[in-house]
Each structure stands twice: as C-alpha cells, then as structure tokens.
C-alpha cells in the first residue's frame, strides 16, 4: 500500500507521522518528496547511500548553423531564448519542453543535460529511505519527484510505502500524491491549520483519494481542526497530544516510536487503522 502524508500548512507534523509510520511498519519504504527542504533523512540517518543525479534537458546552440531567424525566440513561452548577434539560451528559465528544437529549421539546436538535484537511496534498519534533494536556486522539483516515485514503485508489492509530501497544495504536492492509495492529512489545532487543512481536503477530494485526518499537537479545549472534521464527516485516524517530550525528541531528530513505548504504541495503532481503511477501500471498490 502507498500512503501519502500531507498537510497544507507547514510544521504540522507530516514528517513526524511519515517517519514514525515507516518505522513501525518496517520493512517499509520512506519517500521524502519535500525536495526543497527534505528532513526525513535527518531522523533515519540512512547508510549505504547510492546517489543518482537528476537532470533536465537544456538546448545548446550550433552558432555556425543558426541563421538568426528567431523562430525559437518567438515560440518559447518561457522567454528562455534571446537573439542579439547570436542566440542566447537561459538555462534557469527553460522548462525543457523541447519546443525550440522542433521549430528550428536549420538544425542549429541540440540538447545537453543540466543537473537540478539528486535522489539518495539508503537504508536505516528495515526502512529503505529515498530522499529527493533540489539544488537551491532551481525553480521546480517535479522531475525529482517523478524519479522518487518511480524508484519506490520498484519495490515488492507487499512492502508499504510512506510518502512524505511537501507543504502547500500546488502542483508539486499533486505530483507527490498521484499514485497514493490513501492520504493521511495531518492537522494542528489552530485556525491557520484548519484553513490549510481545508485546502488539502479539497485537493484529495478532487483527486478522489481516500483519506483520513491525524490531529496533532492536541491541547485541552476547543480544537478547530477537530470541529472541521466533524463538520465534514471526515474520519479522525488518531489524536496526538501536545507533549513537550515529543517536541524535544523530534527537535533532536529522534524517532519517537523507537525512543518511547507510548509512541511506539500510538503509531502502531495508527498504522493498523490506516491499513484497515485501505483494505476497506479496496473491498468497497472491487
């Protein structure tokens, strides 16, 4: 089963949940799709790391063949080409669509590979850790997400996969949940949290992904996130109380389920609940 963990708002506890689920669910695969700010590897501290470079294709110019017709400059929707006395290519705004090569009648354009980041595959006990890392300054991590999800797809069908998604609900989040069987939405008890929970709620609904909510950092008193779930008939998978000890463990990049029996149990129960939800979904749709 492939479980995506997302939240809309940053800092609600996606990594906490994804890392601990992968730990209690081992042997498993943990995939860090938050390629701008990957954090899971800090908890797992994986070893035996194999690194793969991720590249995109960028045009290069044969200036002797180029006649300066400017068809490519006119075509490019991203303004990545300009012509003065020769053709100039701007790597950082190029979207690698290959269109300029198609429109060139003079065979003056070819392509080269440009590195935008990397995927690291390592192990931490029984957990396979896949981490995507985008180079600072690069605009889009989507090609890295594609490679991450492809790599995780090579695993045995019986090995659960836990996908730690980026914050927000933009296209990079959509790419991360594309082939998930189930989505775990992590919410915090603040109005900010609910506002952003609503956004990912719309997102998973749009993609028709079955989902449930984990309420994190629960305090005494009213919980606007819980109220939201009740109002929309959303299943609450677990409640994690606000706990200084958990905060301290987490801030030291320790995996709570390994350090503390209470959390071992909590996440084990959560895993069972999610597993049951996935089974119910499969039955319902078969």
């Amino acid at each position: 089963m492939r479980i995506a963990v997302l939240s809309g708002k940053g800092g609600t506890g996606k990594t906490l949940v994804a890392v601990n689920l992968a730990t209690v669910g081992a042997p498993s695969i943990y995939v860090d799709c938050d390629v701008e700010e990957p954090n899971g590897h800090l908890f797992f501290k994986p070893v035996d790391i194999h690194e793969e470079e991720i590249t995109v294709r960028i045009p290069i110019v044969d200036h002797t063949a180029c006649t300066g017709c400017r068809k490519c400059v006119e075509f490019c929707n991203f303004n990545a080409l300009a012509y003065t006395d020769k053709l100039l290519v701007f790597d950082d705004v190029c979207h690698s669509c290959g269109g300029c090569l198609l429109v060139c009648q003079e065979n003056a354009l070819a392509e080269r590979e440009k590195n935008i980041g990397r995927v690291q595959a390592g192990t931490s006990g029984d957990v396979s850790v896949l981490t995507g890392i985008l180079n600072p300054g690069e605009a889009s991590g989507i090609p890295i997400i594609h490679r991450l999800l492809d790599s995780s797809g090579e695993a045995k069908a019986s090995t659960p996969v836990f996908i730690d998604c980026p914050p927000g609900s933009a296209c990079i989040v959509m790419e991360s949940i594309k082939d998930a069987d189930y989505c775990v939405l992590v919410a915090e008890p603040t109005i900010f949290g609910v506002h952003n929970l609503n956004m990912v709620y719309e997102l998973v609904s749009l993609f028709q992904k079955p989902f449930g909510v984990v309420l994190n950092k629960c305090l005494k008193g009213e919980n606007p996130a819980e109220a939201f779930c009740v109002e929309h008939g959303i299943k609450i998978l677990a409640r994690i109380p606000f706990d200084h000890e958990l905060g301290l463990l987490n801030s030291d990049a320790k995996i709570a389920a390994q350090e503390d029996e209470t959390y071992q149990e909590l996440f084990w129960h959560l895993l069972q609940t999610v597993g049951q939800e996935v089974t119910d979904e499969t039955t319902a749709h078969s």
């Binding site: 809309g8 708002k9 940053g10 800092g11 609600t12 990594t15 701008e36 700010e37 954090n39 800090l42 075509f75 929707n77 991203f78 979207h95 690698s96 669509c97 290959g98 269109g99 198609l102 429109v103 985008l134 600072p136 300054g137 690069e138 605009a139 889009s140 991590g141 980026p166 914050p167 927000g168 609900s169 933009a170 296209c171 990079i172 989040v173 959509m174 790419e175 915090e188 008890p189 603040t190 109005i191 900010f192 506002h195 952003n196 956004m199 719309e202 997102l203 749009l206 305090l219 009213e222 606007p224 200084h244 905060g247 301290l248 987490n250 801030s251 030291d252 990049a253």
Partner: protein, 302 residues
C-alpha cells in the same frame, strides 16, 4: 518603500504569527501575504470588509478539441510532461500541463490549442489607512512565482507612499520564495531550534544569499531545545548574520491566534519577546537613514 520579508525555510516556525505582531506594532500601512499556496495572514489581521478580487491568469493550458482530433498521437509523443492521455478521446491533464505549446505546434489538425486559464485569485483589502494584498493559488497550479510578483505589485501600487511594508513569505526555497525576494530590502528568517529547522534555515539563507539581500535571524519557540538554539546563534555569529532575538514557546500564542488576535494584542511572554525582535529588526531595516524614521515612530509611541 522599504520592504521587510519574513521567511523560514521550514514550515510552521511562526512566520505569520510574527508577521502579524510586527504589523500591529509598527502600524504598517502596507503588508502582503506571499504564501499564495497556503495564505493565512488574513485570518488575524482583522479585516471585515470584502476585498477587491481579481482573477489571476498563469500560463495558458493546452486543451484538445475532440471534434477536430484525429488521434494521430503526435501530441502525446512530444509532450515531455506526461500531460496528454490517449484513449478514445485524447485529453490534456490540466494539472500537469506546463503550458509550453509543443502540442499546439505539432498538431496537424488544429485540435490542440493553448487556452488562458484562471490559476488563482488576487485579493486587495484597503481602507483609509492600510493596504493588504494577498492571493490564493488555485489547487495544483504552477506559476506561483508570478502570482507572488502580482501580490507585491498590487501592494506597491495601492500604497505608493507607505514608508515600509511587511511581507509574510512562504516556506521552502523554490519559486514563490525566489519571487518574493525581488526588490526587498531585508529578510528576517524565523528559525526553529530543531535539527530539521536548522537544516532548512541553512538552505533558505543560502537561497537568500544568492540575491544579496540583507538577512537577519531570530529564533521562535527557542526554549523547546536550548542546545539547538545555541547552535543557531553560533551559526549566525560565524557567518556574520545579525541575530535579532528569540521568542519562547508560549501556549497563550495559540489561544490568541485562534481568537483572531496577534500575540501583541494580549499580555503574554511571546508578545513581549516579539516586541524585542521587532525593535532590533526595524533598527537594521532603517539603518541607512540613521534610524530616523524608526526613532520618530518609537518616540511617538512613548
């Protein structure tokens, strides 16, 4: 107009909480929420009136007219973004389409065409004294960077004579963050004393550094891990980055926010600490003018 941008790298460190406190303390006449993927600032800045709304058009998205399509498959073969689905009818997966125009170019039947699309909505709140610019990106859209640029442009246009503006940024280091860095005078990084927070802080500082913007750092929830808080202070010292203060974790902050108030609207420890961070930050922001404006404001408050 001097612009202060608040960033963090990691999500959930307290950018919006702190931005709202700064706005309250400074009586800022112009401010913006550039976290267009997940905007939150409007929830605690106490606006009751409806904003002026306008559609935001990002890049055009391709569409295939089934009546003209001959099923030749050329579009799908050339699409590098896996955005065309073949089948009985060919269709474009709008959420993955990058708007490159290749399918339109190769289509022999004129069935594939680029069409303008609303990718979000801009909102401008204003009254006699203040301007607040924000936006919401439609789910799954790209071009958040351009939307961020428009949020800032809207703010500048409406509040031309405001002496300074406070901008609440987004998490990460990607496109919307890069776009928000354009034209700002100073970046305040809100750091969290956790291993993840420090790692993310280093990446955002590197990103901001590429644009040569003056950067200062503060620590939020500083007492949740004293060792890590020290690490951050040492990091700043080693790199010559001004450290402008720290704010302790405070459960009252959650209460305030959930009541739609800022932490400086109520009596609490985080509010007091935030005031200190604010004063240090504004001193740096107005350094060039010999802190004249800032001191005048401070004088008028005393």
């Amino acid at each position: 107009m001097k612009q202060l941008l608040i960033l963090s790298g990691k999500g959930g460190t307290g950018k919006t909480t702190l931005a709202s406190a700064f706005i309250k303390l400074s009586g800022a006449r112009a401010y913006a929420d550039c976290d267009v993927d997940a905007p939150n600032l409007h929830l605690i800045t106490g606006w009751t009136a409806e904003p002026k709304r306008s559609d935001y058009y990002g890049l055009p998205v391709a569409e295939i007219d089934p009546d003209l399509c001959t099923g030749c498959d050329l579009c799908r073969q050339h699409c590098r973004f896996d955005s065309i689905e073949s089948g009985e009818t060919y269709r474009v997966l709008a959420f993955s389409c990058e708007g490159c125009g290749v399918c339109e170019y190769v289509c022999p039947a004129g069935a594939a065409r680029m069409a303008r699309q609303t990718s979000g909505e801009l909102m401008l709140y204003r009254d006699e004294e203040r301007v607040f610019s924000t936006a919401r990106l439609k789910m799954g859209s790209g071009t958040s960077g351009l939307l961020v640029s428009e949020v800032k442009a809207n703010m500048k246009e409406e509040a031309e004579d405001a002496p300074f503006a406070i901008i609440d940024g987004s998490p990460g280091i990607g496109c919307p963050v890069i776009a928000s860095l354009s034209g700002v005078d100073m970046v305040l990084i809100v750091a969290e004393p956790s291993v993840s927070g420090i790692s993310d802080m280093e990446r955002i500082i590197r990103t901001a550094g590429t644009f040569g913007v003056q950067t200062a750092v503060c620590i939020n929830k500083s007492n949740t891990n004293a060792v890590n808080a020290e690490k951050i202070k040492t990091f700043c010292k080693e790199r010559g980055l001004p450290f402008v203060g720290e704010i302790p974790f405070d459960p009252c902050a959650v209460e305030a926010i959930n009541d739609g108030k800022t932490i400086v609207d109520i009596d609490c420890i985080s509010g007091v600490a935030a005031k200190g961070v604010y004063e240090q930050t504004m001193k740096l922001l107005f350094k060039e003018e010999g802190s004249k404006h800032y001191e005048r404001k401070l004088q008028s408050e005393l």
